[in-house]
């Protein structure tokens, strides 16, 4: 048994998951005290891919991101927060001072150097991708402790560009 608290677009539901059903093709779930059967038509669920299942007798196609922070279904994109009430932990949010490239692209302007004091929200560099100039901003206030890139450099998604530490 597993107890989860799911908040979706600011609406919160308590979901209790029971066993996989005897033939292994689904689940029985209690949501806000009501019993619901869920059918999994396909054995494998893939991260970030198109998945589908049937809740009650209502089919849903959906995509969920690897960090489980959103779900996209026919009705659009919905924000998610998942609390595992057994584990007593929320899904972690990233919050360290490492500024990573959100997309692959080209650094066109670098506006900080090591030792600079920065305030949260100020533009620290410009990353050009798909013909758009994207301002990358400081996620928190602090001092620049490392700069790993130079203007003119191409970077991959997720590459650490700049590190900001506490003064």
């Amino acid at each position: 048994m597993s107890n989860l608290q799911i908040t979706i677009d600011e609406h919160t539901y308590e979901v209790v998951l029971n066993l996989p059903s005897p033939n292994g093709s689904g689940y029985e779930v209690m949501v806000d005290g009501e019993r619901v059967k869920v059918l999994l038509p396909e054995a494998a669920l893939h991260n970030g891919e198109l998945e589908w299942l049937v809740v009650g007798e209502r089919p849903y196609e959906f995509v969920m991101d690897p960090h489980l922070t959103w779900i996209k279904a026919f009705s659009g994109l919905h924000r998610l927060e998942i609390k595992d009430l057994d584990a007593q932990v929320s899904r972690p949010r990233s919050g360290d001072g490492r500024v990573k490239a959100p997309i692959p692209g080209l650094i066109t302007h670098l506006r900080v150097q090591v030792g600079d004091a920065v305030e949260a929200g100020i533009s620290i560099l410009v990353l050009e991708a798909m013909k758009m100039e994207n301002e990358i901003r400081a996620p928190l206030s602090g001092v620049v402790t490392a700069v790993h890139v130079a203007a003119g450099q191409t970077v991959a998604r997720g590459e650490v560009l700049v590190e900001i530490g506490n003064p």
Binding site: D9, L17, L19, R58, Y60, I71, F74, S75, P104, M132
Partner: protein, 492 residues
Amino acid sequence: MFNKVLIANRGEIAVRAVRACREMGITAVALYDPSDISSLHVRLADECVRVESPAFFMDDQAMVKLARERGVDAIYPGYGFLSEAAGFAQACLDAGIAFIGPPPEVLQQTRDKLAALTRAREAGFLTVQSSPEAYGRDQMAELQQAADQLGYPLVVKSYRGGRGRGSRLISSPDKVTQAMRQGQQTAADSENGRIYLERAIIPAHQISVQVMGDRFGNLVCLGEREGSIMYHNQKVIEESPTPCLMPDERARLWQTAVAIARLFHYQNVGSVEFLVTDAGEFYFSEIKARIQVEHPLTEMRAGIDLVREQIRLAAGESLSFRQEDVNLRGWAVLARIYAEDPQRHFLPSPGRLARLRVPTGPDIRVDTYAYSGCQVPAAYAPLFAKLTAWGPDRASSIARLRQGLADFAVAGIPTNIPLLQQIVQAEGFVYGRYHTGSLKEPLLENGAAAPHLRDLAVIAAITYIRRHQQFEPAALERLATGWHRESRRIGN
């Protein structure tokens, strides 16, 4: 007619051109840089030629050289890249290759936006107000003066830039210098980095009138399209006809568009663009001397293949129909689907498109270079699909577009589809009351509590558990002691 055509473009418009060529029995040559090899235009073409980098698509000399080497007799430029470059069109002609678009002298005149405005103004047409000339980096004082003369708010525009790049709205005199620097930075990669000013009309409707002309001076009008819903200077939802005009205003707009096209001796397929006020006054802004992204709207209403006509007209044929043969039926709506992440301020989201299933059914059309498993390359604009829906009236075309968007299944990369879904639900859009200022900053709103949110919560819970089972041994252990034992008990 041509035997072999080089498609000097990529992506969905290249797919469109390859298909048109093959339908006409013309050999189609496609181009790709290594990052773009998985795109559909490469697979569908008769010949595909690898080029070194995306920059090749802007290199007129190299393009003509390649065209000669491959023995093509015409070049199809599409939109963007070299599509409106008079020098390129001339270089094609000099090499004995037809340019599928207007003649170079027409392009010369339409590309010089200030001269085009002046010419239309002197011929008695109402135009947007502009600065008398374009200004370079070292002409800050002249620019400030021109801005003050023109009045605020105004728009800073790149003289040679396309696709709204470098356009910035400024509302007061003290913002001129800063906007100019930014505008020139963005415009720096275009021909000479100069910018000019236009008096802003707010609120306004951005309306293009589709025209088509042959070399014998015949000109026809295929109706208008409205493209006022945009963000980051990109249009997102367009429709034809526009809901903002009365029938008599529409008739006057078409007549004006044809008259302006005639003034420029326009040939081939193009659009005459206007800003239209809520009072129904229209101001000429420019001629787009090429096929436009949103051309399917017109094709679905007119039943005319615009790309085929472009090729026919460039081959010297006359228009195959007269104005009185044009019958614009019903209503069409188009959504531009971009590889952009609504969760990250609509930053581009290139990458592998793990799954794609596009909507099908009556009067639904999808233009795309993408398919399950292909790459959306980072080097090009983020448009990867266009969804067009037709209906006998506006309400039914919107209903069909809505269904099409809900039905458009994409996984692997984030897209702007959730935002498009919100726009087509918004009251302002549904009632046809919107303008160029309606969607300044895209903002994804939380949906209203729908009955299915509870089902989605269940889905999220199951996905959470399954992923933990799969990827996190610690969780698996916890489940093994709690979950499975429990299950056995209930199972019995």
